[in-house]
Symmetry: C2
Subunit: 399 residues, 2 copies
């Protein structure tokens, strides 16, 4: 990157011209459960949504907002996904948008909605509407962290990042909050990410840089291979920095990607029952897509994930996952390294110190490096281990 | 099926003209670990092998045997997969075949080899060779069950089936043994199945009926989505019944498929840490492939599997897995039933008795029926739940 980036605080309210709030309105049994993010002026909006065929009303509605291209606000509740709720669910979702629109005096079509939590239960819409009124009153340029808290479900920590990109014409800021693939039984994993920036950027460029950033961040994240009905990543760009980034799209994209990668890593580290963050890099691949496909297959292997929970340098399970990934490679040329130690080369294991490596795998971050030695592309994927707690959290009876 | 099938005992030695043995030769720390299946005359052979790119020497070797089309014997050891063992591994594998060939006075190219167990460790080939000598001495027309025992790794029970198909010209028999997707850490899941029949059948028909049978049995089986380096299904047909089945291929195929389905169910029920067998049927799909794809996605969802371990009638996770399966369907038309109780229809949950269903899910077999109501095809997939024991078995450090 030509131009420097500095990490700052403030989450989605770090960029100029944004306010946010996170309030408790009683959808969850306790804690903040309604987040509101508002741009002081109409913003350009871009977004990416779950490909799940059973997408929730909020996803279907917010897709239209993104297609129209302009938004003033994002409203999100946690505790209830408003999914599989029939026609009533669509009506409730529209009421969320209408309430925000009425109070901000903007069209409902400029309000992005999001929900996460239990599915198959009607949203307590009166509580949500009361929460929206409360959130409007509490909107603040320091409200970003409260909003991060209000979208949590089984997340154990809020996830927020912000940065500034120093360009010759001035600085632009990007902020983001996310919630992870945590589930409240009997629910769904939902990944939500809301991003803000004060950059001036065209709508098509915003959509393009978002898509490219997500490809190498959230699309490289896997907790348990389940994709929910409610996933979305949305970005608002309000231009309040006065700095046009269309001349610096590569820099802006790299900055946005860095921020998304940090949020993705935070989500992986906070995966249900996770004891460690696992980073899997595949190098020497013919294409990025093939590298990512192989890395994801390794990342989603329950055998690899349980071995990592047990701190077991089990290169055999990694090799087996690589082999079934559908990516063509030569097992006799491939290298596998764990925590920097080469464990497999020339078609067989190296003579590594298994006991020492077992100790090194007890770290809270584990890296798996795979080199196929047959190309120049690479991809990095983040996941976590599979522990007893994952089973406990997801097996507890609670319908 | 026009012609009746009767289930019998005898495993792979139920068909005429087959002998088998299972002996202990010291590859595993204890128990039988070498199986030998021999046809008294040269048999037609067909087989299907893992698509894993890191296939073991036995897979690469046995593929050639199947391509040549004639075999006298199958030799298999458990306790060591002879995978990721470099050039030496290929030599050891050939020595296995040569030893059997020498004692049977047949070409080594007529001996199918298979290995399952730990990977990345040299096979103790002298022990295996001594075991082969012992097995040859113990060959018996009652040896099928001993062979089933000798291919077990973490399987808790041997898996064998046999049947006779009553045709106008006489009866033909089919026998089979299998081992499941059990692993000995730090190893791989390996699925092995060896089938025998005394039917007279052409080589091309044998390969065809095997492929079709596997499509609807073992290819509908998933424990944890991992495909090993050593998987194979091989069938020997020695014609000793004197009955030509080429006129009754549909009957023969249905009989073979039934036998393979029973073995697949036994494997699922004995999955690592499994507390129950789970059968997932998708009906009303446009194609079999789409039906199976959706059923497999549900079967492989860790969220669904942990819910079933917890006896939780969690239709939401099933719907979410259906949604991300890549199969096009209308969530408002689809039905989901658990243990025969309709839990989801018209885009939302039905008003079912969750407490009663929770009790019913404690059975040792659980059925999930999905009806997409958009076609006439269906597929059934078998799996098991995901329990604490799965994590324990696979996380224990043992490299």
């Amino acid at each position: 990157m030509e131009h420097p980036v500095e990490w700052i605080t403030g989450a989605v309210t770090a960029p100029r011209g944004f306010q946010a709030a996170g309030v408790e309105c009683g959808v969850k049994s306790r804690g903040k459960d309604l987040a509101l993010i508002v741009s002081n002026v109409s913003a350009t909006v871009a977004g990416m949504f779950t490909t799940n065929r059973a997408a929730a009303p909020c996803v279907r509605y917010s897709r239209h907002v993104v297609e129209a291209g302009v938004a003033r606000a994002i409203v999100a509740n946690s505790g209830n996904a408003n999914a599989a709720t029939g026609e009533e669910g669509f009506v409730d979702n529209v009421r969320m948008a209408q309430k925000v629109a009425q109070l901000l005096e903007c069209p409902p079509a400029q309000v992005v909605t999001a929900s996460t939590g239990i599915i198959g239960h009607r949203l307590p819409i009166e509580r949500v509407e009361a929460g929206i009124e409360q959130a409007i009153r509490q909107l603040s340029p320091e409200g970003g962290d409260a909003a991060a808290e209000a979208i949590m479900t089984t997340d154990t920590v809020p996830k927020a990042e912000a940065l500034r990109l120093l360009l010759p014409e001035g600085e632009v800021r990007i902020g983001g909050i996310a919630k992870g693939a945590g589930m409240i039984a009997p629910n769904l994993a939902t990944m939500l990410c809301f991003l803000t920036t004060d950059a001036q950027i065209s709508r098509s460029s915003l959509q393009q840089v978002l898509r490219d950033s997500v490809e190498r961040s959230f699309h490289c994240l896997t907790i348990d291979s389940d994709t929910s009905t409610n996933d979305m990543v949305v970005i608002l760009a309000n231009g309040q920095s006065g700095v046009d980034v269309n001349r610096y799209l590569d820099d802006f994209e790299l900055a946005l990607e860095s921020l998304c990668v940090r949020l993705a890593q935070r989500i992986a580290r906070d995966g249900e029952g996770a004891t460690k963050l696992v980073e899997i890099e595949v190098r020497g691949a013919p294409t990025f897509t093939q590298a990512r496909r192989m890395a994801k297959t390794v990342a989603e292997s329950p055998l690899v994930k349980t071995a990592l929970f047990g701190n077991d340098p089990n290169w055999g399970r990694i090799l087996a996952a690589m082999g079934r990934s559908g990516v063509d490679f030569d097992p006799d040329r491939a290298h596998i390294a764990l925590q920097g130690t080469l464990v497999y080369a020339e078609g067989k294991p190296t003579t590594f110190d298994a006991a020492a490596l077992h100790e090194q795998l007890k770290a809270d971050m584990v890296t798996i490096h795979i080199d196929l030695q047959q190309g120049t592309e690479h991809a990095t994927v983040w996941t976590c281990d599979l522990s007893y707690d994952y089973v406990r959290i997801n097996a507890e009876y609670s319908t």
